[in-house]
């Protein structure tokens, strides 16, 4: 199957001062607070941060699952029309991200553009692209392992021929021996197809491995972003430094202020 038909026109995703609030006025919580972020043409931007820092909210806002309270999300300088499906998302939990009553083939075919012909061939080609046998199309999600399901998730995202893919913690529910195969696939697809991707994870080592750029999110704000090498080698923000230290040495001796649960930065 030739790859050329899957080559995707590269695009730039931009978050301009994006704010997302939940709840009504009195009890509103701000999940994302004035976020500026750009996913440049054909590159992977890794977004790290602790749980509750607003990473997933940002992802869901980009694909239109969560309404934006302020700011704009632009694709090539234009506001996103969600019906055009130029953004696709891969979800965290491979067990709940596929309809248990639909075969793999049906799930993927659903995401194909409506005008698409020879749908069965395209499903087979997509499965091949993510390293799954074509027979998978007839199987149900329950018959696949977590890693295989996550590959299906990627195939479904690619089926819509998106300009940008958003991957939300796609390896955190997988076993360590499986995680590597999915990360390799992401890297491989990106190199072959020059995808633009926003890769979200709480695991800095994983983000470091796949990303060209790294953005660090803390309490709903982007506290640091830049080329991966630069952020890793010369972190400017105290939270980034702490994240780096913890990733390099999970049980390290560094004293973090013994009585405090949250970090001293940005309070």
């Amino acid at each position: 199957m030739s790859l050329s038909r899957w080559v995707i026109v590269v695009s730039e995703l931009t978050f301009e001062d994006v704010t997302v609030r939940f709840g009504t006025r009195g009890h509103a919580t701000t999940a994302a607070d004035g976020v500026h972020l750009t996913v440049p043409h054909g590159s992977i931007v890794g977004l790290v941060g602790e749980s509750g820092s607003g990473k997933s909210t940002l992802a869901r806002a980009a694909v239109g699952l969560v309404p934006v309270s302020g700011g704009r999300i632009l694709l090539d300088g234009q506001p996103i029309d969600h019906r055009a499906r130029r953004l696709q998302m891969v979800f965290q939990d491979p067990h709940s991200a596929l309809d248990p009553r639909m075969t793999i083939g049906e799930s993927i075919a659903e995401a194909l553009p409506r005008r698409a012909r020879d749908r069965r061939d395209r499903v087979a080609a997509l499965l091949d692209l993510v390293g799954l046998p074509a027979e998978c199309a007839r199987q149900y999600p329950a018959q696949l392992s977590g890693g295989q399901r996550q590959r299906v998730g990627l195939a479904r995202a690619l089926a819509g021929e998106p300009d940008v893919i958003i991957a939300d913690e796609i390896t955190s529910a997988l076993d360590v021996s499986i995680q590597g195969t999915v990360l390799n696939l992401v890297r491989d697809l990106q190199r072959r197809m020059r995808l633009s991707m926003l890769f979200i994870s709480h695991n800095l080592a994983v983000v470091r491995y796949v990303s060209d750029f790294i953005a660090v999110m803390y309490h709903g704000r982007i506290v640091e972003h830049g080329p991966a090498d630069q952020v890793l080698a010369d972190p400017q923000d105290p939270y980034t430094r702490e994240l780096l230290a913890a990733a390099a040495d999970p049980a390290g001796q560094l004293d973090l202020g013994e009585t405090s649960d949250t970090t001293p930065a940005h309070r």
């Binding site: 953004l87 991200a97 309809d99 590597g180 390799n184 390290g252």
Partner: protein, 613 residues
């Protein structure tokens, strides 16, 4: 369906329901003329050989009339249910299609309708629409609808929040498609069950309305009308009232029992939970030095044995880590040690001693006290292991009251003291707070604090930091380390993260498919691991020094299914070193210089993991 028919309840309910339905079709075709035959010679007779249930005031056979009435009664009940279910489906599913604002209006309407009792609604509709078959049909149908609509709403709301529905939305599926293709098929089972039960209820309601004279009007007749007629002469001819009464009960039961059987069949029920004690194999002299001695531990559930002969020892103050993937049996091993495996799980061991005490036999209460005071257990999710409705301090204090017989005040003071020991800031104030007021890291510390209420000799921590952020994780791990230093407690740390385990523990056990495959000192993990699985695991996890230009090493294949463990080495299908011998014979766990490894090809140099894929 097969599963339903296999139970006695399911089988008898199905047979009963089938009989009622067949009768409903056949009886009106066969016996209508006989049932309507007026016989002036036999007016108002009691039971005779010719007329089993006697005759009515026109001399018609009551038994035959009851049989024929099955047709109308069942048909009306099913029709009314269909109306109710359809109206309920529309009302319940419409919020998904209409969107937020219009959906809210529909929900409010349903909420109000649900507040009225169904029978009241039915009577109301019957009076408004007017007595008669059509009237009562609509009345009962509409009365069923609100309850059904509410059920649909609840189920739909649950499924609509799942990722696959979000994924379909992102993929561009329209609202109607979402509803028909993704949501309704996944809520169908409970709806079918409830519809079956609703049919039973509709049957009873119809009988009630007809009995009151609001339902079926003469010359048509259903069971309710027959009952009403029979009741007039109940002292003279009881059979005429009993026959339709029995018919209503039997048919109603058939629907309800079948619904019950369906729900049992759809949700696979597990046996009631009960702690089970395994029989002692023999009295083995115990080792006083070690805190915990486990020998040939097996944990079995019906059909699977996830832990298949695990042996290890935890010395005084020693930190032992167990690593493995999901399904390797690491957590079950920990639960078995803490005696938390519940029925139908079964624990067997050659030896299982905690502080020199044999846990396999003896008084259960004594064991519980021993484990309650000397063993601390920390689970993965601190939110679900703390009672959300109880103050943190109270929960800790309860341990001291239960196991140490402390007074309420002493226990509270000890709780505050322990919260201070796990570095909770301002412990007096924090002890009066509820779990939701604590952050994830603080809850986990509170859990550890609860373990420290006694004087634990061993802390078992099952994935204690998996739910926590990396910056918080290191604080919790550091706390565990400090406590060990201060109290001299031993630690059994279970984790999937080999890096965490190697940094916190003295010794690491690597588990695969329910067995220990390697046991070695933690500081030699990166340099002297001998089992190919251990080596592959170390290579597969990216860290901050992984070369970004090379693909990650991966372990081909997938983890072993506990229900189908191969003979021989369980890792053989994924192992680059595997030979004929590995497939046929299981390698024993050989001890060598304090280290253990179970592999026929340990130490064979290999480029572990296959790069690429």
């Amino acid at each position: 369906m097969k599963r339903i028919l296999r139970t006695p309840l399911g089988l008898s309910a199905a047979v009963l329901l089938l009989a009622v339905l067949v009768l409903a079709v056949i009886a009106p075709l066969v016996w209508t003329d006989q049932a309507n035959a007026v016989d002036t010679a036999q007016i108002s007779r009691g039971s005779t050989a010719e007329h089993w249930m006697g005759t009515d005031n026109l001399g018609r056979d009551v038994f035959l009339r009851v049989l024929v009435a099955t047709g109308l009664s069942v048909r009306l009940a099913l029709l009314a249910t269909a109306i109710g279910v359809l109206a309920g489906l529309v009302l319940g599913a419409v919020p998904v299609v209409l969107g937020r604002r219009a959906g809210r209006v529909v929900t409010a309407v349903v909420n109000i309708a649900v507040a009225f009792p169904a029978l009241l609604l039915a009577l109301f509709f019957a009076v408004v629409i007017g007595p008669g078959t059509t009237g009562s049909l609509l009345a009962i149908g509409f009365a069923t609808a609100p309850g059904f609509a509410r059920l649909v709403q609840t189920l739909v709301a649950k499924v609509a929040g799942l990722d696959y529905v979000a994924a379909a939305r992102v993929a561009g599926a329209g609202r109607i498609r979402l509803l028909v293709r993704h949501i309704l098929p996944n809520v169908a089972e409970p709806l079918v069950i409830n519809a079956t039960m609703a049919a039973g209820a509709a049957l009873l309601a119809f009988a009630g309305l007809s009995f009151l004279g609001l339902g079926v009007q003469p010359p048509e007749y259903d069971w309710g009308r027959l009952l009403g007629e029979g009741l007039q002469g109940i002292y003279l001819r009881p059979a005429a009232a009993i026959a339709p009464g029995v018919a209503v009960v039997v048919a109603g039961l058939a629907f309800h029992l079948f619904g019950e059987a369906l729900s049992k069949g759809f949700t696979r029920h597990t046996a009631p939970v009960k702690l089970r004690r395994t029989e002692a194999a023999s009295a083995v002299p115990t080792d006083d030095d070690a805190v915990l001695v486990v020998e040939d531990l097996r944990v079995a559930f019906p059909g699977v044995t996830p832990v298949r002969g695990v042996s290890f020892t935890v010395g005084q103050g020693e930190a032992v880590g167990i690593v493995g993937e999901s399904g390797s049996g690491k957590s079950l091993t920990a639960l078995a040690v803490a005696r938390l495996i519940e029925h139908p799980g079964q624990v067997d061991a050659q030896r299982l001693t905690f502080q020199g005490r044999d846990l396999r036999n003896g008084d259960d209460r004594v064991h519980r006290r021993l484990l309650g005071t000397s063993l601390a257990m920390v689970f993965q999710d601190p939110m679900t292991s703390l009672n959300p409705a109880m103050r943190i301090g109270r929960q800790l204090a309860e341990v001291a009251e239960q196991h140490q017989g402390a007074s309420r005040k002493q226990a509270w003071q000890r709780a505050v003291d322990r919260l201070r020991a796990v570095r909770i800031p301002d412990p007096e104030r924090r002890a009066r707070q509820y779990p939701h007021e604590f952050s994830g890291g603080m809850r986990q510390r509170a859990m550890i604090g609860m373990g420290l209420m006694g004087k634990p000799a061993l802390i078992i921590a099952d994935e204690p930091t998996t739910a926590l952020d990396v910056t918080v994780q290191r604080q919790v791990l550091r706390l565990l380390r400090t406590i060990r230093a201060a109290d001299g407690a031993a630690l059994l740390l279970i984790s999937h993260d080999i890096t965490v385990v190697s940094q916190v523990c003295d010794r690491v056990l690597v588990m695969y498919a329910g067995r220990v495959v390697e046991d070695l000192p933690a500081d030699e993990l990166h340099t002297a691991a001998r089992h190919p699985y251990t080596r592959a695991l170390l290579a597969a996890v990216p860290d901050m020094t992984t070369d970004r230009d090379l693909p990650l090493a991966v372990i081909p294949g997938r983890p072993v299914d506990a229900a189908q463990v191969p003979t021989g080495c369980a890792y053989a299908p994924r192992c680059p070193l595997a030979t004929e011998r590995c497939v046929t014979a299981h390698p024993p766990l050989e001890t060598d210089n304090g280290r253990r490894v179970a592999c026929w090809h340990a130490d064979v140099p290999v480029q572990v993991g296959d790069r690429g894929e």
